[in-house]
C-alpha cells in the first residue's frame, strides 16, 4: 500500500509542478498578480508531495519490502539500517527521486528567502524551477519508477553494492546533488532575467548567495567523493579523471567561473550576458553530469542503468533545456546588454582571464570525457582517453590561472596599473621563487614540477597575506573589510593548500606492491612495515580476513594497521578495506591484495606512504568555508533586517539595499 501512495504522490507532484511551471510565468508576462501569487503555495504543495514519495521509498527500504523492485535490487535485510536508508540513492531510480526532492527543497528555500524580491522575478524563478521538476518527474514516471512492484516478491534483496556501503557514500551523493540542483536556482534566476529583459547589479546580488551555496555543496561533494575513492577503492588514488568524476568536475569549473563573473556583474555591472551564459552552462553541465552517470553511457563504477528508452528521454530533455535556454539567450541577451566598460589592465580583465581559463578547462574536460563516446558513435572504434591527457591539458591551463589569482584581488576595478602592482608584489614573488627553488632540496628531491607547484602555492599564500596586511594597515582594523572579502581570501588560501597537497603527494609518495609472508618487513618513506599475518573476521553482512601490520620508525613502533579483505554474504562480492594511519603531514596506507596460494600465509600487500595527502581535502574544505564566510556577508542579510522593520514596503528596502551595494561609477546598460 505504501509504495502505491508514493507513486500517487509523484503523480500529484507532477500536476502541481505543471501548475507551478506555467501559471506564474504566464502571470508574470501578463502582469497578473493573482497568477503570480500561485507560485509560492503551489511550490510548497509540490514539495510536500515529493517529500511524501521520498518518505514512502525510505519506508519501503527500512522495512525490507522486497515486493518493491528497487528495494529488492538495492537492499538486503542483513544491511544495517543506515545503509538501507542510503540505498535510497544507491541506484538510478532512487537517485532521481533524491534529485527531485532536493530541487523542491531548494524551491521552498527560494520562496522563503525571496520576500524582498519583485513579484515578477520570484514568479519566474519558481516557474522555471517547476518546469525543471516537470522534466524529472516525467522521467521518473515514464521510464524509471522507483515504486515498481516485483511479483512475486523476492525473498531477500540483492544488496547494496559493497563499494557503496560506507559512511562517505551515505553523504557524498546528497552533497553532490545539493550542488547540482543548486545551480538550477542560478539558472532560474538567469532565465527570469532574460524573460524580464532586466538585469542589473541588484539581480546579481540576489543570485550570488544561491550560486555560492550551490558551489559550496558541490565543492564538498567532490572532495567527499575523492576521499571516498582514496580509502575505499583500496589503491590510494584520490582522483582518476574517471568520467563520473569529470561529470561533477565540469559543473564545478563552470560554477567557479560563474561566481567570479557574478562578482563583476554585481560590483561593476559588467559581463552581464556572459554571466547569464555561464549560469546556463553550469546548470546544463550539472544536468548532463547527472544523466551521463545515471544513463550508463559511460563505463564506470557509478553507472547503474542501461535502458535505451531512458537514453532517448535524457537526450530529449537535455536538448529541450539547453536548446530553449540558449534560444531565449540569443533572443533576449541583446536587451540585457553587455554592461560597464573597463580598461585592458583592470580587475575586470583579470577576472575575464579567470573566466576564460576556467571555461577552457571545462571544455577540455568535456572533450576528453565525451571524445570516446563521439568516436564510438561515429564508428571510429572504441578508445579511451586516459589521465595523461587531462594532466597534459590541465596543468598548463591552471598555471597562468593561479599566477593571475594572486594579482586579481590587488588590481583596481576599471583601470589598474601594472608598474604599481609589480612594486607591490615583487618581494612576495621573489620570495616565492626562492622558496620554490630551494625547498625541494630540503625535502629530498628536486623536479621541475615540484618546484612549479610550490611556486604557485607560495605565490598564492604570499599574495593573500600581502593583500590582507595592506588592507589592515592602510584601512585600519579587521572590521573595515567585508566578510565576502575574507571569504574570497580564505577560498584562495584553500587553493594554495590544495596545490601543496597535490604537489607533495605526487612528488614524494612511495607506493610499493610487495609479497609479504608473516614476519616480513618492507620500508617506505622512512617507515618500516612488518606484516604479522591475517586472522578471520566476521561482520554484520560479510566475512573476511583481517591482516595486522606494525609500523615502526627508527625501531620504535608508531602504530598498527588492520587492512581487511571482505566477502559480502548477499552478493559474494570481494572488497578491499584499506587501513590508514592518517596524519597532518603523511598518511600510512596499507591494503591487502590476494592471498598467495601454497606459500605459508603470504599475501600480496600494498604499502603506501603518502605525504601531505590530507592537505588536498583540507584545501577543498577551506574553499568551501570561504564560500560560507562570503555568504554570511552583511549585504545579504540586510534585506532580512529591513524586511522585519518595514513589513509591507518591500520596494523601499530593495532600493536602499541596491543603492548601498552599488559601487560608484557602475554603469547599468
Amino acid at each position: 500500500m505504501i509504495p502505491e501512495i508514493g507513486h500517487f504522490a509523484l503523480i500529484v507532484a507532477l500536476m502541481l509542478a505543471l501548475i507551478q511551471g506555467v501559471l506564474p510565468i504566464y502571470g508574470a508576462a501578463r502582469g497578473n498578480a493573482v497568477l503570480m501569487g500561485v507560485a509560492r503555495p503551489v511550490a510548497v504543495g509540490h514539495f510536500v508531495f515529493v517529500a511524501m514519495a521520498f518518505a514512502c521509498l525510505a519506508y519501503a527500504l527500512l522495512t525490507n519490502d522486497f515486493s518493491v523492485l528497487y528495494v529488492a535490487e538495492h537492499s538486503n535485510s542483513q544491511l544495517p539500517a543506515h545503509y538501507r536508508f542510503a540505498a535510497l540513492w544507491g541506484g538510478h531510480e532512487g537517485s532521481l527521486l533524491l534529485w527531485t526532492f532536493l530541487l523542491t527543497v531548494w524551491t521552498v528555500a527560494v520562496t522563503q528567502f525571496s520576500r524582498h524580491l519583485p513579484q515578477e522575478m520570484v514568479a519566474r524563478v519558481i516557474g522555471v524551477l517547476g518546469l525543471i521538476s516537470v522534466g524529472f518527474l516525467l522521467f521518473m514516471l515514464l521510464t524509471s519508477d522507483p515504486f515498481e512492484r516485483l511479483l512475486p516478491a523476492a525473498m531477500n534483496g540483492r544488496d547494496l553494492n559493497p563499494l557503496l556501503q560506507d559512511p562517505g557514500m551515505v553523504i557524498h551523493p546528497p552533497m553532490l546533488y545539493m550542488g547540482y540542483v543548486g545551480f538550477s536556482v542560478a539558472f532560474a534566476f538567469a532565465l527570469s532575467a532574460l524573460l524580464g529583459g532586466h538585469l542589473d547589479a541588484t539581480w546579481a546580488r540576489w543570485s550570488r548567495p544561491w550560486t555560492t551555496v550551490a558551489w559550496v555543496f558541490l565543492t564538498l561533494g567532490i572532495a567527499l567523493g575523492s576521499g571516498w575513492a582514496y580509502y575505499e577503492l583500496g589503491w590510494g588514488g584520490w582522483w582518476f579523471w574517471d568520467p563520473v568524476e569529470n561529470a561533477s568536475f565540469m559543473p564545478w569549473l563552470a560554477g567557479t567561473a560563474l561566481i567570479h563573473s557574478l562578482a563583476v556583474t554585481e560590483k561593476r555591472g559588467a559581463f552581464k550576458s556572459w554571466t547569464v551564459l555561464l549560469a546556463i552552462g553550469a546548470f546544463s553541465l550539472s544536468l548532463m553530469g547527472t544523466f551521463l552517470v545515471r544513463s550508463g553511457v559511460l563505463t564506470s563504477v557509478h553507472a547503474f542503468a542501461t535502458d535505451p528508452r531512458r537514453g532517448i528521454f535524457i537526450l530529449a530533455f537535455l536538448v529541450v533545456v539547453i536548446g530553449s535556454s540558449l534560444t531565449l539567450f540569443a533572443w533576449r541577451a541583446p536587451k540585457v546588454g553587455l554592461g560597464g566598460k573597463f580598461e585592458l589592465v583592470s580587475r575586470e580583465s583579470f577576472l575575464l582571464c579567470n573566466n576564460v581559463l576556467l571555461s577552457v578547462a571545462a571544455a577540455s574536460v568535456f572533450l576528453g570525457t565525451l571524445y570516446p563516446l563521439f568516436m564510438d558513435a561515429l564508428g571510429y572504434g572504441k578508445l579511451s582517453v586516459g589521465p595523461p591527457y587531462f594532466n597534459t591539458v590541465f596543468v598548463p591551463l591552471m598555471v597562468p590561472m593561479v599566477l593571475l589569482m594572486g594579482l586579481g584581488p590587488i588590481a583596481r576595478w576599471k583601470k589598474a596599473n601594472i608598474p604599481d602592482m609589480w612594486v607591490r608584489v615583487r618581494w612576495a614573488f621573489g620570495a616565492s621563487v626562492v622558496i620554490a627553488l630551494l625547498l625541494p632540496f630540503v625535502l629530498g628531491k628536486w623536479t621541475p614540477l615540484i618546484a612549479l607547484g610550490l611556486l604557485l602555492a607560495c605565490w598564492l599564500i604570499s599574495s593573500v597575506l600581502l593583500d590582507l596586511r595592506k588592507r589592515m594597515l592602510r584601512e585600519g582594523g579587521i572590521k573595515t573589510q567585508s566578510r565576502s572579502y575574507y571569504g574570497m581570501q580564505l577560498a584562495h588560501f584553500g587553493v594554495a593548500i590544495f596545490i601543496i597537497g597535490v604537489t607533495l603527494v605526487k612528488g614524494y609518495e612511495t607506493e610499493r606492491d610487495v609479497r609479504m609472508a608473516p614476519g616480513d618487513t618492507v620500508a617506505a618513506g622512512g617507515y618500516t612495515f612488518r606484516f604479522d599475518g591475517v586472522r578471520a573476521l566476521s561482520g554484520p553482512n560479510y566475512e573476511g580476513k583481517q591482516g595486522r601490520v606494525v609500523v615502526m620508525k627508527n625501531g620504535q613502533p608508531v602504530g598498527q594497521l588492520f587492512p581487511q579483505k571482505r566477502i559480502y554474504d548477499a552478493s559474494g562480492m570481494p572488497m578491499t578495506e584499506a587501513s590508514i594511519d592518517a596524519g597532518l603531514f603523511r598518511d600510512l596506507y596499507v591494503s591487502l591484495g590476494d592471498a598467495i596460494p601454497n606459500s605459508g600465509g603470504a599475501w600480496a600487500v600494498r604499502v603506501y606512504y603518502k605525504p601531505f595527502v590530507n592537505w588536498i581535502w583540507a584545501g577543498c574544505v577551506l574553499m568551501a568555508m570561504g564560500g560560507v564566510l562570503a555568504l554570511s556577508d552583511r549585504r545579504y542579510r540586510i534585506h532580512a533586517r529591513k524586511k522585519q522593520e518595514t513589513h509591507s514596503t518591500e520596494h523601499t528596502a530593495t532600493h536602499e539595499a541596491s543603492a548601498a551595494g552599488m559601487t560608484t561609477g557602475s554603469k547599468p546598460a
Binding site: 553494492n161 583500496g234 589503491w235 563505463t299 564506470s300 563504477v301 580598461e343 585592458l344 576564460v356 577552457v360 571544455a363 577540455s364 572533450l367 576528453g368 571524445y371 572504434g381 572504441k382 578508445l383 579511451s384 582517453v385 586516459g386 595523461p388 591527457y389 587531462f390 597534459t392 591539458v393 598548463p396 591551463l397 606492491d513 610487495v514 609479497r515 552478493s571 559474494g572 562480492m573 570481494p574 572488497m575 578491499t576 591484495g593 590476494d594 598467495i596 596460494p597 606459500s599 603470504a602 600480496a604 600494498r606
Partner: protein, 157 residues
C-alpha cells in the same frame, strides 16, 4: 588606448589563447588515447606494436598462474574465438576472476605476449565491461559468418 585598439587587443588575446588551448588539447589527445582491440584483431595483426592499447574479453578458466615472487601473474583473455596470453605484475583488482569479463591495458611484446600495465575489472559480479561484451559479440558474428560460408560451400558441392 583607443577603444578600437582595446577591442583589437582583446580579440588578439582571445584568438591566441584559444589557439594555444586547441593545440594543447590536440597534442594531448594524440599521445594519450588508447585504442581498443579484440583478441581476434590482435591475432590478425591489426593492433599496433610498441604502443599502448586495450584488449577485452573473458579470463580463460584455470589460466591464472602465479610466478614465485607472488606478484607476477599470467592469464589468458579470450573472445571465445582467439586467445591472448597476458602477463601482469602487481595486485589484481577485487573483481578479477576466471571466467569473468576483463579489460587490460598495455603493450604487445615481441614474444606475442600482452604486457599489461593496468587490469580493469570494476563493477559487480554480473557486470560485463562493454568492451568485453563487444569482443564476444564480434567473435560470435565472425563464427556465424564462417559457419554460413561453410554451409554454403557444402551446399554448392
Amino acid at each position: 588606448m583607443k577603444r578600437r585598439q582595446k577591442i583589437l587587443a582583446f580579440i588578439v588575446a582571445g584568438v591566441v589563447g584559444l589557439g594555444i588551448a586547441v593545440g594543447l588539447v590536440l597534442y594531448a589527445l594524440r599521445g594519450n588515447v588508447s585504442l581498443y582491440f579484440t583478441p581476434t584483431q590482435v591475432f590478425d595483426k591489426q593492433a599496433p606494436t610498441g604502443r599502448n592499447f586495450r584488449i577485452g574479453g573473458l579470463v580463460v578458466d584455470h589460466s591464472l598462474k602465479r610466478e614465485r615472487d607472488g606478484l607476477t601473474v599470467h592469464f589468458q583473455v579470450t573472445d571465445t574465438d582467439k586467445t591472448m596470453p597476458v602477463v601482469y605484475t602487481g595486485i589484481l583488482p577485487d573483481l578479477f576472476k576466471e571466467g569473468k569479463g576483463v579489460v587490460v591495458e598495455g603493450k604487445l611484446g615481441t614474444d606475442g605476449v600482452f604486457h599489461a600495465s593496468q587490469v580493469l575489472a570494476k563493477h559487480d559480479e554480473n557486470y560485463m565491461p562493454p568492451e568485453a561484451k563487444e569482443a564476444l559479440a564480434e567473435a560470435k558474428k565472425a563464427k556465424a559468418k564462417e559457419a554460413a560460408a561453410k554451409a554454403a560451400l557444402a551446399g554448392g558441392k
